[in-house]
Symmetry: C2
Subunit: 204 residues, 2 copies
DNA sequence: GTCTATATCCAGATAGAC
DNA sequence: GTCTATCTGGATATAGAC
């Protein structure tokens, strides 16, 4: 029975097991309250393997960071491919972020809730990274095409995404106890009124 | 000359020196990257004194937390004393928060930027604490008096304060590089449009 | 109450067999 | 590549003189 021992061994790559375990622990306890031994235990691998694959604890954090930021960027790119107007793009991004906050909580929490500069050396702030720069670009586009009123780019970005991101943070903190999906329509309404052109909103 | 040795000794209480040093270090490096020895060195006291006064590192963090949250609550109370309408109250709070972000950066950073639940045991989320509950109460008041349009309380709060808090976070991260004061008027405009009643804004 | 010197513990990292 | 056993540094915390 040469294959028997392989039956329960769905060949999930070891890197993936380590990253999944680390993400789970980092998010639930905070990076500094997790030891490499904790990760090793939860991932069911040895310490040696972790050091072989990632070089250490910070290496895991870095790998997670770039991997998840990549996923987020792909999401933004997909939205930009599927939608042309700034309004549709922003709405879709906010809707997806709300969805992921419920269904892929750990990923959203690691992106929006961790202070990476405190544990990844020489890490520039996450909000300077590519996906967030693209989000600001979409807002800029909206002002240039006349979909949004003209204002300072930072203010515009904070107005369009600030309310939504704030709700995500409160949700992750456990302060908001209902799923975010139910808030989506009202959030979008406030957002668009805040960025409305002078002539709008004339009708409600 | 019995008093000579007291001349340079402006009698700043030792607790205060410890807390000031700790706040500075916690904010600049992050709680977990600061040792008690670092605090001891920067405050120019012995490690024994620190354990005498605060019982340990977490004790310092707790004392800072309650002290600063108290200051914030006093600020909110003062605003509520000086202003009656929800609009004026919210505007003043946002203006003050923007000011403090520039002038008392460490305090704002410790309140808005630290993950206290990760290093203070049994700490409930800061946004459930009294000053933030009062801020939500003001928004609720605005909806009840008809200053703001009626919507979900969470959405309303995120709309009124979310953009401003988002900008504070980006400023603390170093992503926004200009002082926040210059953004105030535009932020408030977006906020009030987002919360405008149905009949407004008719004129611009 | 304040200080120095010390104890204790545990996390990150490594060595070397397999 | 993976594992176990071990090393080492540094952090929190304490003891005990003053």
């Amino acid at each position: 029975m040469p294959y028997l021992n392989r039956i329960p061994c769905v060949p999930e790559p070891i890197d993936c097991r380590i990253l999944t375990a680390a993400l789970d622990l980092f998010v639930s306890r905070g990076y500094h309250n997790v030891s490499v031994h904790d990760v090793q235990k939860q991932a069911n691998v040895s310490i040696g393997s972790i050091y072989n694959h990632f070089g250490g604890k910070e290496g895991i954090a870095k790998a997670l960071y770039s991997h998840l930021l990549n996923e987020m960027e792909e999401m933004i790119d997909a939205v930009m491919r599927d939608h042309d107007s700034a309004t549709a793009r922003c709405e879709t991004i906010i809707r997806l972020l709300f969805e992921y906050t419920e269904t892929r909580t750990n990923i959203i929490a690691y992106i929006f809730h961790a202070k990476h500069t405190e544990f990844i050396s020489n890490q520039s702030p996450i909000y300077n990274s590519s996906p967030f720069v693209k989000m600001r670009g979409i807002v800029q586009q909206g002002m240039e095409t006349g979909e949004f009123r003209m204002t300072d780019p930072w203010v515009a970005t904070a107005c369009v995404f600030g309310g939504a991101i704030r709700m995500i943070q409160l949700r992750l903190d456990g302060v908001i106890q209902q799923p975010l999906g139910g808030f989506l329509d009202e959030v979008l309404k406030s957002t668009w009124w805040g960025m409305a052109l002078g002539r709008e909103p004339k009708t409600l």
